[in-house]
Every structure is written in structure tokens, then in C-alpha cells.
Symmetry: C2
Subunit: 439 residues, 2 copies
């Protein structure tokens, strides 16, 4: 690695004038402000107009050369010694697979265009997150490159199948990186498709790009990698910031997690239950709830990766126009998950349409748009009428989880009756026993 | 009022044997348990098999005569002296209007059938809640009798019109009692229809029947009545339990409140903001946020009670089947509110359909299914494409509030462009200034 690796043109010029080399501690002054940190090498090949400084907290910041008034070399540093994948492998560390699907974690930022591109090799990952090379022998791989809002059941299938293969190859754990928009849906879907998974799979994402100073990517990835090696439990979990500090991660059960904020680092929350545990640099702290399943043998594990996408999630609201529900139910669906009001209701005028759909072989399930608490359809007339029409009450199952489960159940059950029965079974923690219900 | 007013048959027999009269303190033994409280008169005419006891905490409990092993008269009491409406009126207390729409607050329970029926006269209300007679001169009235899940925009119109009339008659405040299922939607709808309301309107409900021991109706109604007299602010609010204790109520702005639990007393929460205030028997405590509007003059106030129900609230989810969104958009709608993912996204494959709907004169708005935080459609490609397609981003407006507002705006604006502009204006606190955003 040369003295100013990756810097060209204006950025190389200003750094050369300051006598700076990669690894030096620099104070970069811009107008009234200044940033102090370690000069890191560039990988973005089209950008010669930014200087990238690694701050004390581990995050990188890119500073436009145009704005720089002065660069002062505060201390002579050593060029960082990036560890090669071969060297990491030779250490005998446990193997951890990172499956990339798109999204902003483990990405580089082109500071000129703002574009992010995924890190695709172990070498790049170790250079972005040097700490990883001391934790595990990482095998990164891009499985998909899809925005989270564009992920569909066919992508869940692709992921589940690849996870099966990776498990058979023998890994200590798996990290799935993805955009956060539909992470809750994916976590639920994989919880059913990968029942009996013998290792832990941690889904991580980032609310901000991994190469930006305020990113949460760094800690999420380090925590997930550490747990992939150390955790004594298996299964599908979402690992994201537990609070607004940058110190503690929450480990959420894949079937009970929801994105509850558009932009906060701690957007993800366990619904109605405690998170399975928390991670910080002090270790894993498992909460007092039902113990997560222990690790198992890779042999004998088989995914059930199929989903039937012909299912709708319908949030009920006052005065759903007459044509609306009919249009939905007539659009070739095999199943509907309602987000009803309160204990599980829709307008009683719509019940006949629902009955007709059920009588025609459709499966209709009821959850609540309240999101916390359980549906109880025996309290009021409307609920009882819906039960009589064949609607399946889903206790405290999250609507998003119910959608993924119904797509999975329809693809794997032989009849509507079997599907209805499976929907009411607690397969992956999606129905909370009252003893551990928190709110 | 006779010695055993309202009791007949088996219930009268067992009470007569015990020498009990209305107002006596009784210990009623049932198998291994016993209940002690004051014998209250019955109003339910078809039930001769229950004894109703008022507990110390103010709640009534009905005990089936079949289960009673013994009744012991613990103390001689005085038959409660119910205050007549004439007497209350003569005290010169401020007038408060209670508008009933159905739901379980201010109801009597028929303990035999479990059915609840609303209290329809001031006399009944004063007998159910004697404390009310010391607070205000109450005028109760049944405006509607509809389950909350069956409430529609046409009902919102009926309520808004009646509120206008009541305001013109001169009242200190208005209490609207209703079922809780769609209370958030109604509160939002009335916030727009009753902009400039010169008195406070408190929407109250009960998560459990008002004549049952665990009911929250009592405190909700007493608090709302007290504030209807004492509060120095006007506008539309939801008043429900602030926590699981039975001591403190939260006053939620009508546009920022959501039912977040299927059954808990404190199911209602202000979203992204502090409640406007709290009420307890110690008084009203206004929180430090934007001050609510002060009371005004009844003269000059005019409601805008119309709503156009041709609007859908569509929660986006992964793999919305191709026919689904088309079916919705083709079902005669004038507007759609999306609950998008994250910062305000839907699958990019659906954007063309949205564009077509907008080009055909439809209004499409974007909120987030995250429920907390703001949409920001400038961050990612998908958001920018949706903006280009004409989708209106609604900041942190709640999806339910956006639905009611769009129904209201379409009924009151002259064009789609005007509607879009109105949707982005903060008319009733539905868009939170960043300075008071809490989460």
C-alpha cells in the first residue's frame, strides 16, 4: 500500500503538500470547523476530490477538497496493516458467512456521487472493518442486490436455499445483510422457511451508510459476527441498535420484530416480548424469557423454502369502499391477513364478502392494527360473526409475520383446513405464551 | 326508591331473607369467596337473578344468585340519594353535553345476557356516576348507536353537525362517548371537520364495560367532565387512561393519537409527541409542548362536516400481487393513502400504476408503516421516483389521520392540486414541527 493509496488529482495534491501519508493523524480544517482523525486509503476509483478520515469512534468521514482550508499532520502514523483473507483463515478462527442482499451495510460510499456500493470481498471487508479479522474467518458473498422495498417471496426463497447450502458447508453462524425497510417481513419469512436451523442467523442492516460518520453499520456487523461465533443458540434473529447510544445491540426474535421508526438507529423493536438478548462489547446478555433453541447438527437440517405470494395483507379502515374489498378478494388471492381494529374486527357489512371468499377455498386470518395485545374475537358480536364466517384468529401474531407465515403455509400445506390449523400453531415464537407477554 | 328497587324473584328473595335494603353494606359469599360493598338498585328489567354491589373503588359487580351461598348485612346504610337533573341545573353549574355514539362507556350491563345498553338520561347518568352531579349540569343525548368498527365518514358528519348545534346552544364543553376500535380515526376526522371549535371536545371510551369492576369508564368520564368545565383550551382530544393505574388520564391531540393495544386500559398513545396534558384528581397538568388553542367565541364557528369516502388506506407489503393494487386503484377511488415502508417506499414495480392513477386525477399520499418518525422520499431512488409520479409526502402524519384528512380535503377542495396542497399544510397538529417531535 503506497503512501497515499487511492488518492489522485486535487486530493493527492493537498495531502502531498501537507506531507501526509496513509495512517497519519491529520487535522483537516474547513472554514470554521476541523476534523481530526486517521487518513485512510481510498477505494472509490472515480473520485479524486475527497479526503477520507477515520474518526476515533471507528467511522469514516469524507471531506470535499474544495472545502478544505488547511491540512495539518498532527502525528506520524503507521499505514494500517490490512490482514489478508489467507492470513485470517490460517488463524483457525471459526467460519462465518456474510450473505449480502443489497442495502447499505458493509458498503463503500462514493463521496462524490453519494452512491453506495457493497463490499464484495473479504479483503474489502477487513479493510472497512479491520476488527472483523480478529473475530472470524469471513466468507462474504452477494446473494442478491435488491432494495429492501423490492424484496419479494421469491427472494426469500433464494436466501433460504443459499442458507441451507452454507449450513451444509459448515459455518459457525450466518450474517444476512439487507436494507431495513422490509427486514421484519424477511426475518419472519426465514423463521418459517429455516425452522430447525442448527446455527444462528443474524440479520443486520444499517439505518445509514456504513462509510458515513453517523452509521450504525459498524457496531451491528461486529456484534453479529461476534455472536455468530460465540452465541450458544440457533435460529433467525434481527440484530440492530438497542437504543440511541452506539454501544448496545438488541437481538430480536425473527417473528416478533418490527421497524417502528423511519430513521432512528433503534428503529427495530421486539413487539410484546423482551428481545431475546442484548449484545455489547462486554458480552451477550440473554434476557429472562423462554430460552432460544440451542445449536444443533447441520446434518439432517432441511429448509422449507417455498412461499405462495398470492396472499394480501389488508389493513381495515372505516368505510372501506364497497368495491375495494371485493376487488381485493377477486384478484386471484388464496389468502388474506386482516389487520382488524381492536380485538379483531372489520365493518360487519363486509362479513358476507369474507364468508364467500372462505367458502370458495380462501384462508382468512385476523390480526390487530393495534400491534400490541392479542385479538379476542369472542367478546363482541362482530368478532363472533367473523369466527362463524371461518376467519382464523391469530392471538398476538404480528400482521407482517402472519403475512409471511400464510404465504409459507399455503405453499407447504395440502388443504385450506391444514393451512388454518398450521396458522394457529406456534412454530417459531410467532405466538407469545401469556407468561412471557410483556405488554 | 323502594327498599329493594329493581329486584324481583330469586334476587329479591335472597335479599329479603338477609334483611337487606338498597344502600346497606353487604357481604355476599359465593363458595370460597366473598364480596363486600353497597347494595345498589337495579335498572335492568329482564334480570331477576343477579345482585349488584358497588365496591369501594366505585365500580359495580353483578353476582349471580345461583352462586350465592350467603348474604350478610354488614352495616345498615342509607339508600343513596340520587340527585335529580332539575336540582343539578338549579345549582348553576356549567353545562356539559355528553353525546353518545355507541360503545361501552356510560352503559348499564344486563348481568344475565352480558348485554350493555347506554344510559340515556341525566337521571341514569347521575345514578351511575353520582360524582357527575357535583361537576356539571349534564345533558346526555344519543346521537348514534353504532359499533366503533362500523363507524363511517357519514357518521363523522352526523357527529360534527350535532357538535355545531350544541356549541351554538352554549356549552362549556362536550364529551363524545364511543367504542375504542376506530376512536383514533374519528378523533382525526373531527379535528378537521371542527377546526376552530371554541370549546374542548373530549372523546372518551372504555376498554371494559362501565358497570364492571375493572372498568376504566368511571375515571375517563369524570376526568373529561371536569376538564370540560375547567380546561382553558379548546379543540378535539381523546381522553383515556395514561397508564395501568386507575389514577391518571392522558389528553391526546385528536390528530396524533393511536390505539396501540387491543385490551389494555392505557391502549391509547400520542405518537411522536407528548400528550397535550394529563388529568388526575389533583388537576390538569399541561405538558411542555406547543400550547393548545385557547377557548373562543361560539359565534362565528362553523363546522366543515363533509367527507368523501372514496379514499383507501393501503398498507404496502412485499409482493403485493400484480392484480391487487390495480384492483384497488380501479375501484372508483379518488384518493389513496399509502402506508409505505421505511422512509416512504413501495415496490418500484408498482410505481407506474400509481403514476397512471395520479395522471387520471387521483391524489396519492405517502405515510410510513413504521408509525414513528417522518417520511423522507429524497433519500433513495424509489422515493424520488414516487415523488416524480406525483405522490405527496406527509412528513410524520399518522396513516389513520391522513386517511381522514384526505377524505375531508377531497370533499372540501375544488381540485386535486388544491387537495395536494392542503394535505401538506399543518391544519390541526397533524404534522409535528421537528422542535416538539419526541421520538
Amino acid at each position: 500500500m503506497s503512501g497515499l493509496s487511492g488518492y489522485r488529482g486535487p486530493s493527492a495534491k493537498i495531502l502531498t503538500e501537507a506531507g501526509a501519508s496513509i495512517g497519519d493523524v491529520l487535522e483537516v480544517q474547513t472554514g470554521g470547523e476541523s476534523v481530526t482523525g486517521t487518513l485512510v486509503p481510498r477505494y472509490e476509483h472515480n473520485d479524486d476530490s475527497h479526503i477520507v478520515i477515520k474518526l476515533k469512534n471507528g467511522y469514516n468521514v469524507g471531506i470535499s477538497v474544495e472545502k478544505v482550508s488547511k491540512v495539518v499532520r498532527v502525528a506520524k502514523g503507521e499505514a494500517p496493516k490490512f490482514v489478508t483473507p489467507e492470513k485470517v483463515a490460517s488463524k483457525g478462527l471459526p467460519r462465518v458467512s456474510i450473505l449480502g442482499t443489497g442495502g447499505t451495510i458493509a458498503s463503500r460510499v462514493d463521496y462524490r456521487t453519494g452512491a453506495v456500493s457493497p463490499a464484495t470481498t473479504a479483503e474489502e471487508l477487513y479493510s472497512l472493518f479491520p476488527e472483523l479479522s480478529g473475530i472470524a474467518s469471513i466468507t462474504p458473498e452477494i446473494v442478491l442486490s435488491v432494495y429492501s422495498e423490492n424484496l419479494e417471496p421469491k427472494h426469500w426463497e433464494t436466501i433460504a436455499k443459499r442458507v441451507s447450502e452454507v449450513v451444509a458447508e459448515g459455518v459457525s453462524g450466518i450474517i444476512l445483510t439487507m436494507g431495513t425497510d422490509t427486514m421484519g417481513y424477511t426475518a419472519a419469512a426465514l423463521s418459517f422457511a429455516l425452522r430447525g436451523l442448527p446455527v444462528p442467523l443474524f440479520i443486520v442492516g444499517s439505518q445509514r451508510s456504513s462509510d458515513r460518520p453517523s452509521s450504525d453499520a459498524f457496531l451491528n456487523l461486529i456484534g453479529a459476527a461476534t455472536m455468530a461465533v460465540q452465541a450458544d443458540f440457533a435460529g433467525v434473529y434481527v440484530v440492530m441498535h438497542a437504543d440511541s447510544s452506539d454501544e448496545r445491540l438488541a437481538v430480536h426474535l425473527g417473528t416478533r420484530v418490527r421497524k417502528n421508526h423511519t430513521s432512528a438507529r433503534d428503529a427495530f423493536e421486539s413487539m410484546g416480548v423482551e428481545p431475546v438478548g442484548y449484545w455489547s462489547r462486554q458480552g451477550i446478555q440473554v434476557t429472562e424469557r423462554e430460552a432460544p433453541p440451542p445449536r444443533g447438527e447441520a446434518e439432517g437440517f432441511a429448509a422449507m423454502p417455498n412461499f405462495d405470494p398470492r396472499v394480501a395483507l389488508v389493513k381495515f379502515y372505516p368505510s372501506m369502499p364497497d368495491g375495494y374489498l371485493g376487488a381485493i378478494l377477486g384478484s386471484g388471492l388464496r389468502g388474506v391477513v386482516f389487520e382488524g381494529t381492536g380485538l379483531g374486527h372489520i365493518n360487519s357489512k363486509n362479513i358476507d364478502q369474507v364468508k364467500k371468499f372462505v367458502n370458495g377455498g380462501g384462508v382468512v386470518c385476523m390480526t390487530s392494527q393495534c400491534l400490541w395485545g392479542r385479538v379476542d374475537m369472542n367478546v363482541y358480536d362482530t368478532g363472533r360473526d367473523l369466527l362463524k364466517a371461518g376467519v382464523v384468529p391469530l392471538e398476538d401474531m404480528l400482521p407482517e409475520t402472519a403475512l409471511a407465515k400464510l404465504m409459507w403455509a399455503l405453499a407447504n400445506c395440502k388443504s385450506a383446513d391444514e393451512t388454518r390449523a398450521v396458522m394457529q400453531e406456534n412454530l417459531a415464537g410467532e405466538i407469545t405464551p401469556r407468561s412471557v407477554q410483556r405488554r
